[in-house]
């Protein structure tokens, strides 16, 4: 009577789509540009895969073909994470200053 974890993950996926749908529609139109940059930033959570790839070499060598791709992916994702969150922060900061 064990349930396949895939079904749970699928449930999570479906519910997340509902949440995404509602949460994005509730974003005020004037913040649509920050929305684009912040979704860009959070989509770099793919770095999780990159770290696993980088640290899991079969041999003793740190750099082998597969892990090099991991390290490259880390750089790319890191650019996005820092760039995305910081540029969003910069934009949102401007929305703050206006209130006076």
């Amino acid at each position: 009577m064990e349930i396949d974890p895939f079904i749970f993950r699928f449930s999570i996926f479906i519910l997340s789509i509902f949440v995404g749908y509602y949460v994005v529609w509730s974003v005020t139109p004037s913040l649509h540009t920050p929305l684009m940059s912040v979704t860009n930033a959070i989509s770099s959570v793919i770095i999780v895969g990159a770290i696993i790839a980088a640290l899991a070499s079969n041999s003793d060598k740190i750099f082998e073909t597969s892990s090099i791709f991991g390290f490259l992916a880390i750089i790319l994702a890191a650019v996005n994470i820092f760039g995305g969150f910081l540029v969003t922060q910069r934009m949102l900061q401007m929305y703050k200053k206006k209130k006076k």
């Binding site: 959070i42 989509s43 959570v45 770290i51 640290l55 890191a78 969150f85 209130k99």
Partner: protein, 464 residues
Amino acid sequence: MSANFSATFYLISGILFILALRGLSSPETSRQGNYFGIAGMLIAIIVTFLSVGSFGSGFVYVLIFLVIGGSIGAFIAFKIPMTAMPELVAGFHSLVGLAAVFVAISAFLNPEAFSLGTIGSIKLASLIEMSLGAAIGAITFSGSIIAFLKLRGIMSGAPITFKGQHLINLLIGLTIIFLIFYLCRTQSSNIFWTIVAISFLVGVLLIIPIGGADMPVVISMLNSYSGWAAAGIGFTLENTALIITGALVGSSGAILSYIMCKGMNRSFFNVILGGWGATDQTSSNQSKEQKPTKSGNADDAAFLMKNASSVIIVPGYGMAVAQAQHALREMVDALKKNGVKVSYAIHPVAGRMPGHMNVLLAEANVPYDEVFELEEINNDFANCDVAYVIGANDVTNPVAKSDPQSPIYGMPVLDVEKSKSVLFVKRSLSPGYAGIDNDLFYRDNTLMLFADAKKMTEEIVKSL
């Protein structure tokens, strides 16, 4: 670290990402939302470190590369001018795509690390997910690069079309599906590399026929695709944070594309198949038949507005091009000192990306209670003395209300013509994004101010 422990924390990080988007429902909560996002990312990274659990020299290199990438990102984030947001998003976007490709390649080369089987006998489901992830990632990458180049002006925004284009794309698409099928049977690495290579090509071919101005829709679409790809990789890696985030990003991109298409009253397919972009050039020539216009200078404009009791500012893409937002703010300050009531009217698709004008006005410190959306302010034009249209064009075009033949028919527009007089700041009579002539230029109550938006606005400030 136990699987339960990391699963719990990945859930928390997913929830934090939801809260990050939720924060954007109002400017007040938005910064807090961003912190939630950062916290979610931090948790995801730390939990991954702990669950891999090897803190050897590899770990040090990971940190080094993180810092390198982070510094580049931070540098870009601080340097980029706000007017360059569309291309920035496109550029960042290509990186996510490429990162997804790299992760998929790495998983293919070293499946044990992800517990997906061994080389040559990778689990079927994982193989499909991984090759789809790589393909979509590659398309996102090269597509975003083209979008970036077009937006940046490095590549001409004109659509590049040739005969049988759609047929070729279709064939290549089918080839990829066939190759993935073949890959599942043979597990051959050559086929995997071929898939990746062809996908890069598809990204280019898909985007070049789309006009430069349509790029925002394309970016949003690619954003959505990459979300679904991330969710797919989430299933492969059995990672809740990735699944939740993928669904969020997927929804977000799809909804923004939808909002843009609806704001332009066009169908999504019309955009993707290069509908409008292609007619840009021709129609702009057609409209050059000379009808009489009234044109004025900065002094005329200053005089009109100084004596008005209320002025509505209608910014558009031209304001972004000219970076005129700061000058505009100065002008408004001067007007307010003269006792004129000033408000801003923002059309949902003014500029080149959703919320484009809002960010620029925010940058120029315009208080957001002076900024109104289309539905809120459209009735006020009738009671307004001057509409100051700065670099906007299509979003004011009354043809959308009157001519069912027009490509923008049915798109909601700002009723600027209802105000007593209309000032149009633009450099020429050439049309805007939609490539169609604007009847307002020739009306009696319109005064054209032919000049760069920033220069003109600065001159008006001087005259005030």
